[in-house]
Symmetry: C2
């Protein structure tokens, strides 16, 4: 969800809400084209978006225009209403039609637009074709605009939240600061792993006030290049001297979720690749040592006789584990299945999930996991969205799954509990979060925060109903 804007300070924003509410298509178009509003999903003090205001007053043309500019149909105001529910309450048929494109069947709970999850917003061009271009890589490493991020044991050096950005952000270093680390690298097994992350896309330039001058003087048409270095074996005192304000951010879930949304994707990629280098130092086919190649995206076996050197061997490339995660919906359509593991905080319930297995489709993986963990049979499965998950290197594949049975038998090795919850209870859990749970004196449940794909799967289902 977007942060609230300071209304009185922003004339453009006021106009944005007013033109949506009044149905002034021409003015709204010019506001959007001039990019006077940073975020089309910005809220007013009642939690209303421009989309909700347009839906309230039946301006279907405005609704269409806002949707084209990325307005999120799943957001709710402080009264818990979506734009569709508002349009329906006020009986604006045309708006209802636009906001609820699929009234029939299960697809009505699927998002109309692509969902981008936390860690999934990657602001760099990965420059995969440059990974074998040694001279480009060397020039890029030495370029004064190049940014380095440093990780130790998969924990990144980060800058703590500041007044203007209440999130953790990556601490970046210049070549002049890290060149002594790079110079010590060699083909030996003691080399510090260095990984090319990519270069800033023109449209996604990551602003960094201190580096502004450098940016503007740069003649590098491909934009500023980013690298990640694993400094686990370097002297930590020395690293800390480079920027005394930086601190190591743990690579656990709680820490990572406090990370700046625009940079979380970079951190996810750095953690995943560096953790692969950490866990895959030896050739699994022959047991020999391996060396890093292709800017960190390959490890080659040093034994010249090894089979892994012939053909394309997946032993040489980064490992990525697909995980199926699913919200199971009750046959009556108005309850969903949530489970909890022992390690969850008290009161938290979430989606079921599990690693996919070789020889399995995504849909079958969903059915198997649900059956194994809860005893529930699943029929139809529909893909919702996906999310990189750097703990250490998964891709979460999120689905909605329609149950064909209701009697729960949990696998006690996996779950402590699993239950059917009513839409009303789940709606409260999604909208009120952990704070709501505490305020209720710890009754009911809460669900993972919005950064988790589980939250998005649950929210899509819980908030897309005309009968709340």
């Amino acid at each position: 969800m977007a942060d609230q804007f300071p209304l009185s300070k922003d004339h453009g924003l006021k106009m944005f809400f007013k033109s949506s509410s009044d149905g002034d298509t021409r003015q709204l178009k010019s506001i959007l084209e001039a990019k006077l509003v940073k975020d089309v999903n910005v809220r007013d003090h009642q939690g209303w978006t421009a989309l909700m205001l347009a839906a309230r007053n039946g301006h279907s043309e405005i609704v269409v225009l806002l949707l084209e500019h990325g307005a999120d149909v799943s957001l709710i105001n402080k009264s818990g209403q979506t734009a569709f529910q508002i349009a329906e309450f006020w009986n604006h048929e045309e708006c209802c039609k636009v906001l609820d494109p699929n009234k029939n069947g299960p697809s009505k709970i699927l998002p109309a637009k692509e969902v981008v999850n936390f860690f999934g917003n990657y602001p760099l061009d990965r420059q995969a074709l440059r990974r074998t271009d040694q001279s480009w890589l060397e020039a890029a490493q030495k370029n004064p605009t190049t940014k380095y991020i440093l990780l130790s044991k998969q924990n990144a050096y980060t800058l703590p939240p500041s007044a203007d950005n209440r999130k953790y952000s990556l601490c970046t270093y210049r070549y002049s600061q890290v060149s002594h680390l790079l110079e010590n690298m060699s083909e030996s097994s003691n080399q510090l792993p260095i990984v090319l992350l990519g270069s800033e896309l023109q449209r996604n330039k990551i602003t960094d006030t201190k580096d502004e001058d450098l940016h503007q003087s740069s003649t590098d048409v491909e934009g500023c290049v980013w690298f990640a270095i694993d400094v686990t074996t370097a002297c930590s005192d020395e690293i800390e001297k480079l920027n005394p304000g930086a601190e190591l951010l743990g690579s656990n879930l709680i820490s990572l979720m406090g990370f700046d949304e625009g940079q979380a994707g970079i951190l996810a990629q750095a953690i995943s690749i560096l953790s692969w280098h950490d866990r895959y130092k030896f050739c699994p086919t022959c047991g020999s040592s391996t060396v890093m190649e292709e800017a960190g995206y390959k490890r080659k076996c040093e034994n010249e006789e090894c089979r892994s050197l012939r053909g394309v061997h997946n032993t040489s490339y980064p490992r990525l584990d697909p995980v199926a995660i699913m919200l199971v919906i009750h046959p009556d359509g108005d309850k969903c299945l949530l489970g909890r593991k022992k390690m969850f905080p008290k009161g938290m319930y979430s989606c079921l999930a599990g690693f996919m297995e070789p020889g399995e489709s995504i849909e079958d993986a969903v059915r198997r996991e649900v059956k194994e963990e809860s005893g529930i049979d699943v029929g139809l499965v529909r893909y919702h969205s996906s999310q990189p998950w750097p703990m250490p290197s998964q891709v979460m594949i999120g689905c909605h799954a329609w149950a064909t049975s209701t009697s729960i038998v949990i696998d006690e090795n996996e779950l402590q509990d699993a239950k059917w919850f009513s839409r009303q209870d789940v709606f409260e859990a999604v909208t009120q979060g952990h704070r709501g749970y505490t305020e209720r004196g710890g009754t009911g449940i809460f669900v993972p925060p919005r950064q988790a794909i589980a939250h998005q799967l649950i929210k899509t289902w819980a908030t897309t109903s005309a009968h709340l």
Copy 2:
């Protein structure tokens, strides 16, 4: 596509077509309930399905009934028409509505029902919870109803096509035939890898005429259990004596595609897991040797000091590589992008595809691959279906992708050519296959056969249009 039935021999089938064509709902219901027809998508001599006959005559109630029983909306008759196109031509509005639930926007080319691809139809319950149950595993191995399949270098011992099944099928062996192989197994590194595949589901009993008696006398309530053994290091003469009719089927694409659809999923799982054991004999974290555990679904490092023994390490579990595969659709909606690699047979074009990378969402992987290989920018991405791909162990994640640019610049390391093709050309390529290409004297193109998810992605797009 379903095979053609010998019409004259089958009264039930005649009634099936007639009741669909006449709109006799009561009769059709009783035919379907009595399972008088094996395959709801069976064709008549003109390639018409029951769904098409019902659509032709405007029987929307019959259309709904057939869809509920798995009728495939994407099939086309010998004139290249889908049921929807037939209904539209004859102006049966209600049928059109049912057959084309999403007329607006990109979702109209997505399947209404879940797509099950080749290799994706898995007829066994994987019994994952039994993998640590040593006494169950031992009893299952010795059970006389248990079926063993044998692979050497990931090639399976198979039975060649027969008169009643024109496909390759797995050669299965009984405990009495393989017990001497199993007895020679030990905890040593020479052990033959044996992997639990699962047990037959009641609803999916795999018929095997010779074993019928055994089946009926079995008291094993969980159904017949299947195992795969890698006999690469065993004496091949001895194995061949066990069933002189069996032959080794190569694990290359062409061979695998001739495999029985109902068993292809079992073969895919066996190849993937056994190939993992073959490539991952050593611990990638410390280089020590590893041993198989959990019925073939884990490898444990033998070095007691190794980090991989603490916590859940993905180094210990089978590797599965997610691949994004996509059909790119031209901004004008009526052309699609296909490419060819040098190694493709002359005239074949297919979807672009590539391995996903750590830190990437499925949608971003699609956009990156398309940009890298063809220079085309992609906006919206929609998931279509997935497919296990045992060469050696991928999961193909199929998507439709909407281009936002049109100018092609290919990556010559990956592709020999990539072009925009008109819907009409692609339609011919899909419906006429390789034979049509030969008959045209090698002009135009052909696309991969229906067993490839690329074919399904292309077919869904090419056949779902009202304007052919």
